[in-house]
């Protein structure tokens, strides 16, 4: 992926803030003091390399002839240390090695990062440590190595169990290799192996998808992530569809496929706990759940994203941070100053609530009163959405529920969440603008 839209120009450095702790915060009023951020965070670690780029992929990944793994390792370790110190979290709740193809890294690298984490903060015993793995780099011995390094959960990019589809996706593995990889993983990580599946491939029929799903059910452990294929601009697959070489999947078919999947998986005992995620026997991914619950998370590695309060430099507000995208530049920055933070932006209270709402509604529990109250002690969920307006209309139409548990989508509402959110954001912005008291309207920037 090309480095994002010119981040260089609005480059903020933690370094420049060291002497004048608030110099990057603009000239607006100080954000409203926030309730004490928990001293915990989830940690995301990005391994940016792949052996081959998949036809649908627009992630921040790189195919290079040789990776200087020792250098990357030391940079990941150093940046993890820097950012953990900056956040001053006492305890890391989960670690997720994503990519790219992190299963191409050596277990040593994984171990080194985990050791670094444990050296700066506490990595709770039994904390979820997930590694994304490709079926083409998951021999039993490698997997054993990762387990020894501290990984206790695997997320395997199966994507499809059909060779033709796998070729269309530009995957390096066959369906048979995927099966073997999953079996090997289940042997080593019983109950903690997840598989990723894609649906809505150009030309894929509803029946074909139902068959893939059946096959996946026969193979899977207790967690499945299934993603509708997004034709991202700039990918080879999207170009073929736009050029007319491949058909664009019709909207109604995609809706049918999604509906089929939900129905089949729920019947098989899975809990549909997030838009694209299903788990049974309580095998939900606590790491991903921290994103959806708007917990703190720290992103380490090229292009990684984070959301945390940089208490180490006197920060009191949650920030959105992105690390430098391109691995070589990122490494240079980490080596020279301990981290490669490319941009950091303070999130105002309203912006935080917008994220809480947008992400929380993706889950089956929705946004709980407690979680909302944590971000908005004054203006309750009821104050915002319990009054006449968009949310009530959506409730009456059966898309949404607001009750003692909080605000959440109905079964039907979850499938059309992106049509509900603009209305809900409008209502939130309006209510926030009219909230009682005369607090300065910090955080309404950019509206």
């Amino acid at each position: 992926a090309a480095p994002g839209g010119g981040p260089g120009r609005q480059r903020y450095r933690t370094g420049c803030c060291r002497d004048r702790p608030r110099c990057c915060r603009g000239t607006g009023p100080e954000p409203v003091p926030e309730p004490s951020a928990p001293a915990t965070a989830a940690l995301y670690v990005h391994w940016p390399y792949c052996r081959k780029r998949c036809s649908y992929c627009s992630f921040n990944t790189y195919v290079v002839p040789a990776v200087d793994e020792a250098a990357v390792r030391s940079c990941l370790v150093r940046e993890a240390q820097t950012l953990l110190r900056l956040s001053q979290v006492h305890s890391v709740t989960s670690v997720f090695f994503g990519g790219g193809t992190p299963s191409l890294a050596s277990p040593r690298t994984v171990a080194a990062v985990l050791e670094a984490v444990a050296g700066v903060a506490r990595l709770a015993a039994g904390a979820e440590v997930t590694l994304e793995a490709n079926p083409s780099s998951t021999s039993t011995s490698r997997l054993a190595g990762f387990r020894a390094a501290g990984v206790n959960r695997l997320s395997i990019g199966v994507q499809s169990l059909d060779d033709t589809e796998l070729r269309l996706l530009g995957r390096e593995h066959t369906a048979e290799e995927a099966r073997k990889a999953v079996e090997a993983a289940r042997g080593l990580f019983p109950g903690r192996t997840s598989i990723d599946l894609l649906f809505g491939l150009p030309g894929q029929s509803r029946d074909a998808w139902a068959q893939r799903l059946e096959a996946a059910l026969g193979l899977c452990d207790e967690h499945i992530s299934l993603y509708q294929l997004t034709l991202e601009r700039g990918t080879a697959l999207a170009a073929r569809v736009r050029g007319g070489a491949l058909p664009e999947p019709p909207q109604d078919l995609l809706a049918d496929m999604y509906h089929t999947a939900r129905t089949v998986l729920v019947a098989a005992g899975f809990r549909h706990y997030e838009v694209s995620n299903f788990a049974r026997k309580g095998a939900i991914s606590t790491h991903n759940l921290s994103y959806w619950r708007a917990d703190q998370y720290i992103g380490v590695g090229p292009g990684a994203h984070g959301r945390f309060v940089p208490r180490g430099e006197g920060g009191r507000s949650r920030e959105a941070r992105v690390q430098t995208l391109e691995p070589v530049s990122w490494m240079r920055e980490v080596q020279s100053q301990g981290h490669g933070t490319r941009s950091q932006a303070v999130l105002g209270p309203l912006e935080q609530l917008e994220e809480v709402l947008t992400l929380g509604l993706r889950t089956d529990e929705g946004v709980t009163h407690e979680r909302w109250g944590h971000f908005s002690p004054q203006l309750s969920l009821q104050d915002v959405f319990g009054t006449p307006g968009e949310a009530q209309a959506l409730q009456q139409q059966g898309w949404l529920v607001l009750d003692s548990g909080g605000l959440r989508c109905t079964w039907a509402g979850l499938a059309v969440l992106d049509s509900l959110l603009p209305d809900l954001l409008c209502q939130l912005q309006r209510r926030w603008g009219h909230r009682r008291g005369t607090e300065p309207v910090a955080g309404t920037r950019g509206l």
Partner: protein, 617 residues
């Protein structure tokens, strides 16, 4: 350009010629004007003299002249210094009223015909305008440098249609300058000087006016008697208002002040008029103490197409109002009536000369004033003869003109509906006749005449209901004749018609922008087409949307836009939700700008997109 003011008294009436160039669009009128300006030294000869007289951005972009312009040329011929006043005319059927206005200040015309394309519909229309005004006509065949030029054939067409001997045509290439001098000489020889006298009292015809933000109204005048200078006290025959002249001058083509203007001359005057309406086109100005018999003037431009115009956001009302006021100052052919609607708020009903005129006006609003607006479906001025005593009393008359479908009276209170008609002229290569006749019949047109102007070109005349040609007839004609057929039309009065009002409903709620008055024979087809187009244009929503066309309570067409069944992004990768939040917030912002019809949200531009037909449909 001389520093000193030109002494216009050195140009007596005998050495003045006032003329226009008339032509079908693209036959080279503006290029010829550029050459004439160069030869006479009015503008310097450079490569960039392209359509000097087309001042507006839209004119250059679209290659059409919208507004008449004037230029005074100085030319010496056989030892005499002549003053040649070129009054340019617009080149599109929508603006033909401007042509007749310009011609009223002239004694002759140069009729330009393309040596390749030959006589076209507008050539015919323009010829008759000049002929009826009893002007001298100098036929010029342009573009003889083109490979496919066939001037001989065009000369024969001119002879056949206009009864002008073939040897009177001048063959030129305006682009290369060939024979352009001859044209100037013919102007001097064949066009008579204006018949008037400086010794007479002042009599000035206002034939155009523009508005300048710093100087107020600039009136273009042709002097039919007397003289005028700064300080003169003048009066308008039309408004009876008195003014003192601040400035007079000639147009070259920019204003160039002179001491005086004399009988027979053409120029401009500034006299403290604050609004263009004070300089009524066709008005006569005279010295306040020496009243004269006013000149006959001429019919003011008659709007053929009406549409509602509303600000996208009501908070923009005042900005749009001032933009409209300024733009109509320079385009007095647009009529403006305040209007309001429950759905669209406060706005206006505007009258335009044609659809192109409407588009040009809208484009100028966007380009020159940065305004974006909601335009309703265009409608023509229908009439109704009322039978209901109550309505007759209400209107104070038994015949009303309907320019807004919302005011369409019910059949029960009307004895007869009338629709405006036009006499259309089509000139086409004969191989397209079949298709064109079918097209005309589809448009409810009645054939009036058919004439071969040479062995493979035909001129057809049809009586059209105006509403049938207003939106897309021209495009359809161009498309089925590969661009070879041309079209022009003139007003032909009203005829009785079986009219009904058709509403478009979204989930049962009427869309005011799309209400149309339509002939009952056309309702089903038009309703079906509109519903289909809307289905493609309106984004899917959380519920099913019934798109219906209705006449009264009767549904005549229906399309169903199915509800969204899935709309949720699959993955927020690695906690990267910044982009996602931006998109959602933009959508939330966009919600406020959506037009809500019942619970259906429609993007503001959807209706206009629906009304604009694609050329191949």
């Amino acid at each position: 350009v001389p520093e000193e003011k030109i002494d216009m008294s050195t140009y007596p009436v005998e050495s003045i010629r006032n003329f226009s160039i008339i032509a079908h669009v693209d036959h080279g009128k503006s290029t010829l004007a550029d050459r004439l300006l160069e030869i006479t030294g009015t503008i310097s000869k450079t490569d960039c003299n392209k359509q000097v007289l087309d001042k507006l951005q839209v004119e250059r972009e679209r290659g059409i002249t919208v507004k008449a312009q004037t230029a005074s040329l100085f030319y010496s011929h056989e030892g005499i210094n002549y003053l040649l006043n070129l009054i340019d005319t617009p080149g599109h059927v929508d603006f033909s009223y401007e042509v007749s206005r310009s011609l009223s200040a002239c004694q002759g015309v140069i009729l330009v015909v393309d040596a390749n394309e030959g006589i076209q519909a507008q050539t015919v229309a323009n010829f008759y305008l000049a002929f009826e005004a009893q002007l001298s006509i100098i036929p010029v065949i342009n573009k003889i440098d083109l490979k496919n030029a066939d001037p001989e054939r065009v000369e024969k067409q001119i002879e056949k249609l206009f009864d002008i001997p073939t040897d009177e045509c001048i063959r030129i290439s305006a682009k290369q300058g060939t024979n352009v001098e001859t044209v100037l000489q013919k102007v001097i020889e064949k066009i008579p000087p204006p018949r008037c006298n400086t010794a007479d009292p002042l009599k000035a015809l206002v034939f155009d006016s523009t508005f300048d933000h710093y100087r107020g109204v600039i009136a273009n005048v042709a002097l039919f008697g007397g003289e005028i200078a700064k300080g003169h006290k003048i009066m308008s025959a039309h408004t009876k208002k008195r003014y003192e002249v601040n400035e007079v001058g000639i147009l070259t083509p920019n204003e160039q002040p002179t001491h005086k203007l004399y009988a027979g001359q053409v120029g401009y005057l500034i006299a403290g008029m604050k609004e263009v309406t004070e300089a009524q086109i066709g008005d006569t100005l005279f010295l306040y103490k020496q009243p004269v018999e006013p000149l006959p003037g001429f019919k003011s431009a008659k709007p053929m197409v009406f549409a509602g115009m509303y600000p996208v956001d009501q908070t923009e009302y005042n900005n749009l109002k001032s933009a409209l006021e300024r733009l109509t100052l320079n385009d007095s052919s647009v009529t403006v009536h305040r209007d309001s609607s429950l759905a669209l708020g406060a706005g206006w009903r505007l009258g335009f000369l044609g659809l192109l005129h409407m588009e040009v006006f809208n484009q100028r609003l966007e380009q020159e004033y940065n305004m974006s607006v909601i335009l309703t479906a265009p409608t023509v001025p229908y009439k109704a003869i009322l039978s209901s005593a109550k309505l007759i009393k209400e209107h104070g008359k038994d015949q009303i003109t309907i320019i807004n479908p919302a005011q369409f009276p019910d059949k029960l209170s009307v004895s007869e509906y009338l629709e405006p008609t036009v006499l259309g002229t089509i000139v086409t290569p004969h191989e397209y006749i079949g298709k064109i006749i079918t097209l005309c019949q589809d448009r409810r047109a009645v054939q009036k005449d058919m004439l071969y102007i040479d062995e493979n070109r035909v001129m057809l005349k049809y009586l059209f209901p105006l509403n049938e040609i207003v939106v897309d007839f021209y495009d359809a004609l161009k498309s089925l004749s590969s661009g070879y057929a041309s079209f022009d039309y003139e007003d032909a009065g009203y005829q009785s018609a079986d009219l009904i009002k058709m509403d478009i409903l979204l989930n049962g709620n009427p869309v005011e922008e799309l209400a149309t008055i339509i002939h009952s024979d056309k309702a089903y087809a038009a309703g079906k087409l509109l519903c289909e187009r809307l289905k493609e244009t309106i984004p899917r929503q959380l519920f099913e949307i019934a798109i219906q066309a209705a006449i009264g309570k009767k549904i005549i067409a229906r399309e169903t836009l199915k509800a969204y069944r899935k709309n949720v992004v699959a993955k927020c990768y690695g906690g990267d939700i910044t982009r996602r939040m931006k998109l959602l917030k933009r959508q939330a912002e966009g919600k406020r700008l959506m037009r809500k019809i019942g619970n259906v949200e429609v993007p503001r531009d959807a209706f206009i997109r629906v009304l604009k037909r694609e050329p191949d449909k």
